[in-house]
Symmetry: C2
Subunit: 319 residues, 2 copies
């Protein structure tokens, strides 16, 4: 009997899109009992599970223990880990989505983009352990129940508002056995701001230019200047909230992005494919934090205003 | 014999696109000898003239006295008025385009968008009278040699750098007889900055949102805020160059634009139709003036940077 406690973890993934089903599959491959709430593809996933294609980790079929339309249908007690990988867009009440499955010992794990996304959940579940995680991954849904893992996969996480619990370490171990590197972070809020300095800048810019790849963004000298200006503004906000970003981060982002083959951001891909864009959680929350902290953020304000116009146009076109 | 001196004026229009041919037609209708340089549609215009469709002024065929491929071919001396209505885009040397037709008594009339577009011509022809004109008109080319006048038509002009000469008044009279209202301006440079406060703001924004009409630009509260911020920046630049804009102008622009039926800017139409956009003359010159005058222009810099990225992408796509 060599199976560890870890491998018997009960996991519920709420919002089993590409990211949620990918990490769910990794944990399931290590013996965890992984269930999913997935509404739009319920029938396909119930009948066939998820087909996960990955050059890095191999192809696999992930058959969740329970396939549910709603967290209310979760059976057999409460999960040890409740992974929230719902896209944070307007009108989605994440607390309501998970409430009925959250037990007293459930650790809630947010694998979501953006900044300042934890407080809402922390306030709704003040007694529960909250783990905030950032996914560095390229993964996409390529068909009903079909997920393609393109590259990367690392997770960076820690407890909110700070610290690293035993549960975090257990989760990291399970993921590691499944081929996923975890970076445990004593201050995950700072880590979120660091990621935001890239995301809140490149994502909207890539949409505003009419789907620009990273090459088109950084090639004009004015382009790099705008990127750096907006990044500095994110850094100023982060510092004002008590989470100063590390020196050299912006150079690293610009140089790293320039050296990588040109690619389109996730927001540009959402825009191209008519999917909701994470404007509010990535850029809106950043701008609101900047206003609250009274930081000068003219470039971010301009990007945000332009994105709101795009959103207005799209809503109007969709009737 | 009631024909006035005015009606015998010799006029050469260089850059007979929609705007140039429209005003050329108006002057020809009042008896002026109007010739045109038009390269791309030379054959059609030589054989058939321009068909001008206008609900306001009536339909007419405008047959230029001389239809030329180049100003070098202009015959019979020099024109009294040389109208330059070439789109001011990168790589076009306007002085070289007109040089061979400019005589000692030729008044050069610039009917072109943008700010700080006169100095280049003033320096190239220091002995000639220079008239700078702004067209408030909606007019477009609808086919080879076919021009549609949609609305408006007023011209605002005066001498560069300032003043109103007899030649300006003569031109205004001729236009008036042809149905076009002229607003003579003692300080046409200020008038240019005033127009720029609308143009340098709404034009790029309309492109960056993926072709936004004025409704989509002003509907989100952040949209109006960005418009007003960028307008204030143009106003600061204009004031720094010694041309303070009049009080209430920005309110007038925002209110007027909001009240008008939603429409697309000229730059958005150029973008949609794959035509060169007047980024440099409208926005680039504004930004350069702001940098030169050391005015803080973060919103304009952001808009300019984004437009340079769009331009980069378009050039790349066109190979």
């Amino acid at each position: 009997m060599t199976q560890s406690m870890n491998t018997k973890s009960r996991v519920l993934v709420v919002g089993a899109g590409a990211i949620g089903s990918f990490y769910g599959a990794v944990l399931a491959s290590q013996g965890a009992e992984v269930s999913v709430v997935c509404r739009s593809e319920f029938d396909v996933v119930r009948d066939h599970g998820f087909a996960i294609e990955s050059d890095k980790l191999g192809n696999q079929v992930f058959r969740p223990t329970q396939v549910l339309r709603s967290a209310e249908d979760y059976q057999g007690g409460s999960p040890d880990y409740l992974i929230v990988s719902v896209k944070v867009v307007e009108g989605v009440d994440r607390a309501a989505l998970i409430r009925s499955a959250v037990g007293p010992d459930t650790a809630i794990v947010l694998i979501e983009n953006g900044v300042e996304i934890e407080a809402e959940i922390a306030e709704a579940f003040p007694e529960n352990e909250l783990i905030s995680a950032l996914a560095f991954i390229q993964v996409s849904r390529v068909g009903p129940g079909r997920v393609r893992h393109h590259a990367f996969g690392d997770l960076s996480f820690g407890n909110y508002p700070s610290g690293i619990s035993d549960r975090c370490r257990q989760l990291a171990n399970q993921l590691k056995d499944g081929g996923i590197k975890s970076m445990l972070s004593e201050n995950v809020v700072t880590a979120r701001w660091e990621k935001c300095a890239w995301n809140a800048v490149f994502n909207p810019i890539s949409v505003l230019g009419g789907v620009l790849d990273t090459d088109a963004i950084l090639s004009p000298p004015e382009g790099e200047a705008l990127v750096r200006q907006a990044m500095r503004e994110v850094g100023d906000i982060a510092a004002a909230t008590g989470h100063p970003l590390r020196d050299g981060l912006f150079d690293q982002y610009v140089d790293g992005t320039r050296k990588a083959p040109p690619y389109k951001t996730s927001m540009a891909l959402d825009y191209e494919n008519g999917r909701p864009m994470e404007i509010e959680v990535i850029l809106g929350n950043t701008v609101r934090a900047g206003r609250r902290e009274k930081v000068a953020i003219p470039a971010l304000e301009a990007l945000y205003a332009l994105m709101k116009m795009v959103e207005f146009r799209l809503k109007k076109e969709q009737g």
